[in-house]
Symmetry: C2
Subunit: 370 residues, 2 copies
């Protein structure tokens, strides 16, 4: 790991890090001050094809849970998100944009309702816990904000359901998308949801108790051998093709939920008691002047996109690509970009300025890519 | 960088990243969602000896500024820290622990007072901005919380002062420790403080305007050639020897300022209006039962410390080492550890359990190490 990260306690290991190292992880990224495996096979393409055909085990412990518990827990969640959570039932998972007073995005977690007075926010890469603490302390709410010992492990790919039914019972197959149920792991009751950061289907197990990590990993691994299981991680090709957004990449505090395509998760008709609601309604009334789209571009693999790339039409910038990679299936580069309303129609011709000075011809696409 | 990080916009590049790549950086860490160079020369020891003898240029842009501006800015800062900031003057830098309601540490930034109603918190690795936003929004304070376009560049080492006097004028030599003044950079006025994350002396330039990054880097680099300037970064050997703590390593929300040795930065005699003050006073009254110390141990270089290592005496755990490395000067490993009060006296014999199963004999030391 000499050329990788400087490992330290600050970049927290997970209950599965030992296992992913044994499984041949090729390095890590950092999300929420925690290690996230970045690749296993020699190329991202190999991981991609495997994910589309078989089943993979992903250490996504970095999806930390922010637990809100107490009489005011629901009020606090609602304060942070423009999505109406009042109708949520125990057993539901809800994708909830979190916003500040300007409707700027702070995170885009999945909300799990555990009880009427207990919720988890399964977060992307920002310290939502500190936002929740700040709100709660200043408003003197009756809620305890903690990061519990919960380490999500994802099982993704078309064979995930068969594998988990074999291992944990056929009730797994009855779990609807974005619902959760329970399984037994080493004598403990653990939460399992049909969800995950891919479009290939699968589940996420929210393991409580890090000491059980190796046992859980090993049991799924053993049961998965007949399904050609492999270690994996969120795959950039599959993510972009599927139009899955990434906090910090496609959205920052500079963006509001409407331009990022999250209108369906905002209670615009019957506004809720959310801190950014007024700002969001004003943006909605005025209409957004840019929105997230796909861009198909170039005939050769593009480099890594680590700063936004200008999207150009007639010499004017009409957008910026924030994530991009070569699609071996579509034989073009696929990118995610905010695009001005003058140019956001599907099929619009654009060009993309690459960091090496090259210019690729491209075309606006709806999301997900075909 | 195939074996390093997966670069993406989320892991933000800095105004100096191009320059540090040209200078031969050997990889990056991630702090505040931003790249921090991790090493330049072949070994950390080479960087260490150079830092002690010459001058280094460090890209510490990841020390993001949380700007608090408005009539209630001072009130909000005071709410977050148990240090009395009422006597601070414009031109002062103050090390301020940030705590939650349980006096758990959220960050340990440097506070810069820019005006009576404008402050910067130069933060370690957690989203203090979200804590400040949460507090401010819920309490409806008159304060604007932003992350301005400010990218600190550190000039560290015994020759830093001579170099910067030559480049920016002799008034640099008149800046006291933890005070700031101003310099001209490409026609702009820029803040420079005598501070930095080493014990070798030096300055930090808080560059406003990322487009000036290359010009600033190049001008210091050119002027530094006669001083044997080299690219560098916070050095683990020098940091531990100097007893400099790292948020996320030596302290987390599980720790209070008193056990981490920050009592001098807490207004215990004349308490201030800080959210965690009551909890801190209660801890102070009860007395802490563990405190940060150094541990000198082993006769051979220890491995990387990425999870806490138990410190043992008579078969009982009396502490945990959270950062450690071989000191080529002291010819022993140096570690930072919380130590129980029964064993925290200097010279106390202890042993250290290493992750490979080995046990090193060691001794408790005061900080900084000799």
């Amino acid at each position: 790991m000499a050329d990788g990260l400087n490992f330290s306690r600050r970049l927290r290991r997970t209950p599965y890090t030992d296992s992913v190292e044994v499984a041949g992880v090729r390095g890590f990224s950092v999300v929420n001050h925690m290690l996230l495996p970045k690749a296993f096979q020699t190329t991202v393409e190999q991981d991609y094809w495997h994910l589309r055909e078989h089943v993979q085990l992903w250490d996504v412990s970095c999806q930390r849970q922010v637990q809100l518990e107490g009489a005011d827990a629901e009020k606090l969640v609602q304060w942070m998100t423009p999505r109406d959570i009042s109708k949520a039932n125990i057993g539901d998972c809800l994708y909830v944009p979190i916003v500040d007073d300007a409707a700027g995005l702070i995170n885009d977690p999945v909300l799990l309702k555990l009880a009427d007075d207990k919720f988890w926010l399964s977060i992307a890469d920002s310290d939502v816990l500190l936002y929740a603490k700040g709100l709660s302390l200043a408003a003197k709410l009756n809620v305890t904000v903690t990061e519990p010992d919960v380490s999500p492990l994802a099982v993704q790919g078309p064979k995930a359901e068969a594998l988990l039914c074999k291992l944990f019972g056929n009730h797994i197959g009855d779990i609807d998308f974005f619902k959760y149920d329970w399984i037994d792991v080493a004598g403990t009751k653990q939460l399992i949801a049909r969800s995950g950061y891919s479009r290939q289907g699968g589940f996420e197990i929210y393991l409580q108790g890090g000491h059980l990590g190796k046992a859980l990993w090993d049991s799924i691994w053993s049961a998965g051998e007949t399904y050609n299981i492999a270690p994996g991680c969120p795959n950039l090709i599959e993510r972009i093709e599927g139009g899955l957004l990434s906090y910090g990449n496609e959205m920052t505090r500079e963006n509001n939920p409407l331009e990022i395509g999250l209108e369906q998760f905002c209670a615009l008709e019957n506004p809720v008691e959310c801190i950014g609601m007024d700002a969001l309604l004003a943006i909605h009334q005025a209409g957004v002047d840019r929105q997230i789209r796909g861009v198909l571009f170039g005939d050769d693999p593009c480099p890594t996109c680590s700063t936004p790339w200008p999207v150009i039409s007639d010499g004017n910038q009409v957008g910026q690509i924030t994530s991009a990679i070569w699609s071996p299936r579509l034989k073009r580069n696929v990118g995610l970009s905010l695009i001005e309303n003058s140019h956001w129609d599907e099929g619009q011709s654009v060009s993309v300025n690459l960091p090496d000075g090259g210019v690729d011809k491209g075309m606006v696409s709806s999301l997900p890519f075909a």
